[in-house]
Symmetry: C2
Subunit: 293 residues, 2 copies
Amino acid sequence: MIEATAGKTADHGPLAIICGGGSLPFAVADAVGRRGRRVVLFAIRGWAEPKRVAHYPHHWASVGQFGRFCRLARREGCRDVVFIGSMVRPAIRQIRPDFKTLRLLPRIFGIFRGGDDHLLTGVAAIFEEHGFQLLGAHAVAPEILMPEGALGRERPTAHDLADIAKGLALLNASSPFDVGQAVVVADARVLAIEAAEGTDRMLTRIAELRQSGCISAAAGRGVLVKAAKRDQDRRVDLPSIGPQTVEGAARAGLAGIAVVAGSTIVAEPERIGTIADRAGLFVLGVREQATER
Amino acid sequence: MIEATAGKTADHGPLAIICGGGSLPFAVADAVGRRGRRVVLFAIRGWAEPKRVAHYPHHWASVGQFGRFCRLARREGCRDVVFIGSMVRPAIRQIRPDFKTLRLLPRIFGIFRGGDDHLLTGVAAIFEEHGFQLLGAHAVAPEILMPEGALGRERPTAHDLADIAKGLALLNASSPFDVGQAVVVADARVLAIEAAEGTDRMLTRIAELRQSGCISAAAGRGVLVKAAKRDQDRRVDLPSIGPQTVEGAARAGLAGIAVVAGSTIVAEPERIGTIADRAGLFVLGVREQATER
């Protein structure tokens, strides 16, 4: 059914992809291109990688240039918009509001006062009022979603599965507070909960704590568990993993990574499998039901 | 009633204080001394501060020298034991088990497999089986507990109070997972949740995230909220704040600190008030009821 929807959107003209950092935007662009739909990248200055952007039809814009986006996207005939890629909250000096954005500022500041969910849902509403349809990357390219099962050769032990269950339950409990899509659990002990720092920094912290002897779990124990927040607007903020997530988990001395199948975006799954095999880590897609408790 | 209990324990001979790092052990020793009870410090090598230990009757011991502790404490006539001070989990190379500890090792390893609560309760049981009574520092020196109200001049705004309420609710929700005694909330957004890294490192993280522009809340916004875990064994692990907590919160650009009155230990409250006033931060003791929801 997702496939049918993905096919149908091809009638809606080219797809505008607003690109943050990392390799995910290009994985989505390639997947949509393979389906025969034209893509136009709107690369965000300071986040999107210029060398890779250059391979696609594209425009550059700064954070805050919503007027510019509307004008260019309409000229390109785009109605559907996907927003994808990493983007830590921009510093004030990086924001270059154009006239339309300035008029929207009071509302945007109101949106910023809430948590992430609130922010993203508010932004989606603004796009829709301007005649665009904001879609999740998974709606236009379902093949980028994590499947059930493992990506590489390694499999979790019963011990790892217990850590995964504890991690999913904790993410479920903290979800109403609009915080944390990731935790690290080792030997039934919660070592880290992600908030504003993001997954990569959290994994770096685990590596440092291990080096300074603050973590009693042996190397090769512990799991990074990621899950979408409950009621998260999946069009704009599905959790994702990429090769750098596996590398970070390896440096943190973990046994593996568990994410929720069907609601996690995976950039470059083959490369992830290869890296995971080399590092001896498992990368597992678990069923959604496991998170309901 | 707490006073009466504290008075009664004076009949039980000198108090053994097992000292970790920081200034809390000495605040407790002084408070107990003022009540006319003799104290004997058992300073843990690598954590307790030698210069300050020297001012009290004391013995040194390494982590794992439980047999040595039992022998010396009995010789000193101590039956009541207080364990206090910071102690990140020791690295293996810092542990010097003596014969008695070696015999207890299988059990200790079993204890280590759980979370913090499990660990501390297990350790308390071992002390009691050897004829000692493990007491909370607040039972022997109730004056070290945080009072209701503010320590310095500054007071929270209505905005800060909303952040505090959100922080307490999140700590309450994550408590069953035996994790986190502290969070940072700014403008209703959860910026950090503490796990294995401890409060000081979490505050350093906030300072770094702010510098790198990852936090949109303005400087001077945000509250560090600390609370005891539900069902926490209060004899061994009440949350605490000290001068370095206020300094860390100031460096992190927060508006203040909120802790639960009556179940948080405060080292050097006067100095905390002075430092908080200088930095323009509030340090607030809130009612326990606020955490029940």
